[in-house]
Symmetry: C3
């Protein structure tokens, strides 16, 4: 039961934002192996001046259409998080066609008991979603 | 000194959003025993397409008026967080009358020294708000 | 590669919001010694009723123009975070002239591997930005 925030510039089509959401979610499913319906995202559309970043971060030219992705979920091993970043970037470059250098991602990890939804069952041994594939 | 983000669909009355804010805060006070004035919330009103979740999460029918609640505060024991989730859900079902299945909550915990406000005093032994009831 | 969220009341000039962003960033650079271009912020402009706080928190009169600053970055020692809070508050009081009592700040720390941008190089020993000054 992750929660993901996407921040981007105001004025993009619904289909564009949907492609971003789905690209992130597909990467979450394939990499972290979460259930398909474990899909929680909020997209913030911002005025240009309210989304601030250096256009030359690390000496790489960045465009005006950056997308910030912040993911909150339970603790995962470093290699899995690395694979997730790569899968999200690949998906978003493919659709909606983001430039790889305009994607910025970060993760915040929490304790497994920090999630609540009515009807959500947890594995009594691991505390995580009872449907998680191992 | 928590900070809480509430995300919901654009177009609800002020009184509705206020009931949500107060329901969460009352649960924080009764469960975590924080002072009454330790009340910091931001409500994000979103276009329907910018708030994404599966309408059948865990096989339970979810409506269009989901509310995501994300709470940031110092580390707490698991049983206290569980009680907090239950108290918030109960309060929001009562007023403004949310369906329990449309409430989704998560917590992010921080170190106790990660908070700042002018005039805030901390207990030198615990590092937490000096007025916290034990 | 931090990410910082600023929440404030809708209706302030661009220059006002820019002064806040730059004041925070200058404090990040001087205190945490991050590179100048390591600058990632999102500003949320909110309706008054969507930004909730007690006007008498800790017995100090708070105004209507509070600014919530939430900073996400890698773990830092407590004394460094304390210095950062002080530097941000000093900068924002100077420009754009915020009242010190209207500034509220919090930090969320993450593992060092929780960040991704194309072209970002990390120090193989520390896992942090390869350009970080010691």
């Amino acid at each position: 039961m992750p929660i993901i925030y996407v921040s981007l510039r105001k004025g993009t089509p619904v289909a564009y934002r949907k492609a971003i959401a789905q690209g992130i979610q597909r990467a979450m499913i394939s990499t972290l192996r979460i259930p398909d319906d474990d899909y929680f995202q909020v997209t913030h559309e911002l005025e240009p001046e309210n989304m601030i970043y250096d256009r030359n971060f690390f000496g790489v030219a960045r465009g005006d259409n950056a997308v910030f992705v912040q993911l909150f979920f339970n603790h995962r091993p470093a290699d899995l998080k690395k694979a997730l970043f790569a899968a999200i970037a690949d998906n978003l470059v493919r659709d909606p066609g983001l430039k790889r250098e305009d994607i910025f991602m970060s993760i915040v990890e929490t304790a497994f008991e920090n999630w609540w939804a009515q009807g959500r069952a947890v594995n009594p041994e691991t505390g995580t979603d009872s449907r998680m594939r191992s």
